[in-house]
Amino acid sequence: MGKALFHVLVAAMLVFLLAPVLLVIPMSFSADKVLAWPPSGFSLKWYAAMLEERGLAEAARNSLVLALVVTTATLAIAMPAALAIDRWRFAGRDAILALLTAPLLLPTIVLALALLIIFVGAGLLGTWPGLVLAHMLVTLPYGVRVLSTSLSTLPASVEEAAASLGAPPSSVFRRVTLPLMVPGLVATCAIVFLVSFDEVVISLFIVGPQLVTLPVALFRYVESRTDPLVAAVSTLLVVFTLAIVLILDRAVGLRRAVGK
């Protein structure tokens, strides 16, 4: 009885969380001129129309490149930071961890305004370096958090065993620490990539006429038009996101099952 109730509750919660996403999919196949539920007929015309939208395609490419650059740069900084935080009990360790987490707690709109003010002076508005920097402000805390959590679950004695067997610190890292961190690294990449790819609030303030990201382009599109084209784009985004998650899950799972 209690169990049945629990299942009903879980199902209700899933519907509540996923319904908006699932609604978008049938809507993307609408034959109507405006977003309306239920569609009066179905067609693929909005997918065709999407391909005609030059601005959106350009923005999608920008977002993809940006997310890749941000992921790489975040990893390059978060990895040593997480190692230092996990391994060394240095003075100010807690302060640094708190500082790195702070952007997660601040209202994003405040961050965006602050960045706008700074970037105007520095000439970074509407530039690639500006966007990368702004996104990293949000992705770094995620990166450091996820990586240091994955490091803290790694037993120190395994590395000590390697050292006692004659491995100098560099070999311990290459042969033991790094391979054991792969699942954490993959998870970090996935999260950071998606956070950057999805970022809209800060991007809205930072993008320029020559450089627009996909979420911003979509946001502007729905401001002026209400046709089901955005539903088609959204459906593709859902599929793309799911694909990333699935591929990475497979990659980690496979590595664990097969690889050295």
């Binding site: 395994v158 000590e160 065993a161 050292a163 033991v176």
Partner: protein, 352 residues
């Protein structure tokens, strides 16, 4: 002790303020000797082992191996094989990969490594399991992999941290003899950490009993068991009866209602008297001058198959007697009056 293989000189480890985890620990271990570090949980055994292996920095003192000071040498230069309490196998490598790791670090040839790995796995009876992952092995098998991995590099010193504590009782006894055999055959100087006195007595050439970071007694299993230096050691290395009393000018000890004599003489004053339960007998007639005796009433008799334990109330002093069981002998009844007797040489007295 100039030919000692491993020497600890006034070794100390502090973690922040408070009493040190290991204090002024001095030991000399001979080449090929198996030395046990025995003590209750938290007495500093692991910390001592970690300092020897270079995994923890000593805050004072020195560590010498074959006369060379290695106190500040990093672990990868110490050439010591360590078996960790949780085995610490590499989960991302198979069994052969785990065992080969130390040889690869020593830049040995592929052929050489393959041959040595095979021999090491055979030595611990794991032939044919080289391609298994650690998590596909039982606790006992993982323990053997850890041992093979530590031994295959032919380290100058082998350090074992409670390697048997995660195994069930039967396997633990098997592994005891196996580890001891391998250690003897290879003649490798070994430190064996354990909190299990039976394990220490059964396996070690000598035992260092530790208490709260300090060395309490160093000696052979026989010394430790028969001539404990302190009540702590006597209590820790086996079950024991304990009475508090006082020694008079004649050397007689008055412990409550009992008048006893002890193995060794001592000055007058407060003493603690201790006797092992199996050295006490329910007396028939063999009472002589070299015996202590006491009259009492059986309060409880516990039969556990091979051993019968009786708690005897000797006018307020509770003494436990243990004897092996025989099918012909009846189990004493509670409330039965008995005479207890034990040898003066089995009566340990410690000045309080």
């Amino acid at each position: 002790m100039s030919d000692a293989h491993l020497v600890l000189e006034a070794l100390e480890k502090r973690f922040g303020a408070g009493p040190p985890a290991v204090a002024a620990l001095s030991l000399a271990v001979q080449k090929g000797e198996l030395l046990g570090l025995l003590g209750p949980s938290g007495c500093g055994k692991t910390t001592t082992l970690r300092m020897i292996g270079g995994l923890a920095e000593a805050t004072a003192g020195r560590i010498l191996v074959a006369g060379h000071d290695v106190t500040t040498l990093p672990p990868h230069k110490r050439d010591m094989g360590i078996v960790f309490q949780n085995y610490a196998l590499f989960p991302h490598m198979d069994v052969a990969g785990n065992v080969a790791f130390g040889l690869e670090m020593r830049k040995q040839s592929r052929a050489e490594i393959a041959a040595k790995v095979e021999r090491a796995l055979a030595m611990v009876h794991l032939d044919g399991l080289g391609h298994r992952r650690p998590r596909e092995l039982s606790g006992g098998q993982q323990q053997r992999v850890a041992l093979a991995r530590a031994l295959v590099i032919e380290p100058s010193i082998l350090l074992l941290d409670e390697p048997l504590s995660n195994l069930d009782a039967k396997l633990r006894e098997e592994m005891r003899t196996e580890i001891r055999d391998i250690q003897k055959r290879l003649g490798i100087t070994t430190i064996f950490v354990t909190h299990d006195q039976v394990e220490a007595l059964a396996m070690c050439d000598r035992i260092a009993v530790m208490r709260a970071g300090s060395l309490e007694q160093l000696g052979t299993p026989f010394d430790i068991y028969e001539s404990p230096a302190t009540p702590f050691v006597a209590d820790f290395v086996g079950r024991i009866n304990r009475l508090d009393g006082a020694r008079d000018g004649d050397g007689d000890i008055l412990a409550g209602p009992l008048r006893l004599r002890a193995a060794k003489p001592g000055p007058a004053g407060r003493v603690t008297v201790m006797m092992r339960p199996h050295r006490l007998h329910i007396a028939t007639d063999a009472i002589g001058p070299e015996w202590n005796s006491a009259a009492g009433t059986i309060r409880r008799a516990t039969y556990v198959g091979d051993v019968l334990a009786c708690e005897v109330d000797c006018a307020g002093a509770m003494l436990t007697v243990e004897r092996h069981t025989h099918p012909g002998q009846p189990i004493p009844r509670e409330g039965e009056a008995v005479n207890l007797a034990w040898r003066v040489s089995d009566t340990l007295a410690f000045d309080a």
